[in-house]
Amino acid sequence: MAELIAIAFAAFFVENVLLTQFLGICSFIGVGKKRSSSLGMGLAVVVVIILSSVVTWIIYNFVMVPLEIEFMKTIVFILVIAALVQMIEIIIKRFSPSLYKALGIYLPLITTNCAVLGVALTNVKEGYNFSQMIVYATAIPLGYLFVMYIYAIIREKMEFSPIPKAFQGIPIAMVLAAILALIFSRFGGLA
């Protein structure tokens, strides 16, 4: 149990997917402008990462390891993730058109979100068993959601701040991300 808590804490704070591993930065900058859309995107990423981690872990351990074709993990994982996102898109469109509309172009873009592939590859690299994998694959996207929400709150406040012209828009967003990453780097000593 203590080990699982350690994995969850490390995944959430110490190895935060956005601010320490620098995965999934594209959607972080793109969707992190508004609180509502950052929440929707974060929840979609949570669902996709948990599902894709379970499926890729099963395929890796029960198909690829017995056949000794571990070297193919990257290409197989890309295939599985792309197919999963397609299916999730169809299902969301059917059951929640409003969420489908809110996510818009970012839902198909989760396919190419490197955080999803990164988690799937880390699971097998670290040799996690099933419960460790579930904990890790839940904590990582929750960390993503948490950081993205903080980021969106600060960026909403920044809309009304006097920012020098050269820094308006993406440049100040990059500066903000760097400052947040500095803060999160202090968690490094805890692991």
């Binding site: 395929i59 198909v63 690829m64 056949l67 074709i69 193919m72 290409i75 197989v76 295939l79 599985v80 197919a83 397609q86 299916m87 169809i90 299902i91 469109k93 059917r94 059951f95 058109p97 818009g104 172009i105």
Partner: protein, 99 residues
């Protein structure tokens, strides 16, 4: 023999996933107005956003309801634009003008 296994696994995995997507699409898919597809085919599909809509499909929906004109599309070719206008005129013919 070893060289056969990787393409076989990847091929069969692709096949299984393809069938799964087909089944999900068949049982959960939402049927949309086929005229949206027809109009979208005539647009350039760059998804550039110059028309002010989120992508070409969004503009196709707006064209169908008559809330925007084909001229709003900036990168469209001349002949495509003419085809599109003809299609829309035919579509809207016979529909009484409502006040």
């Amino acid at each position: 023999m070893d060289i056969i296994i990787p393409p076989l696994v990847l091929g069969s995995l692709g096949m299984i996933l393809g069938v799964l997507i087909f089944l999900v699409g068949k049982y959960f898919g939402v049927e949309e107005d086929h005229r949206i597809d027809d109009i979208e085919k005539m647009l350039p599909k760059y998804n550039c956003g110059a028309c002010g809509f989120a992508g070409c499909r969004d503009m196709a929906k707006a064209l169908l309801t008559g809330s925007c004109r084909a001229e709003s599309c900036k990168p469209i070719k001349k002949e495509d634009q003419e085809n599109l206008n003809r299609y829309l005129d035919e579509l809207l013919q016979g529909i009484p003008v409502t006040k």
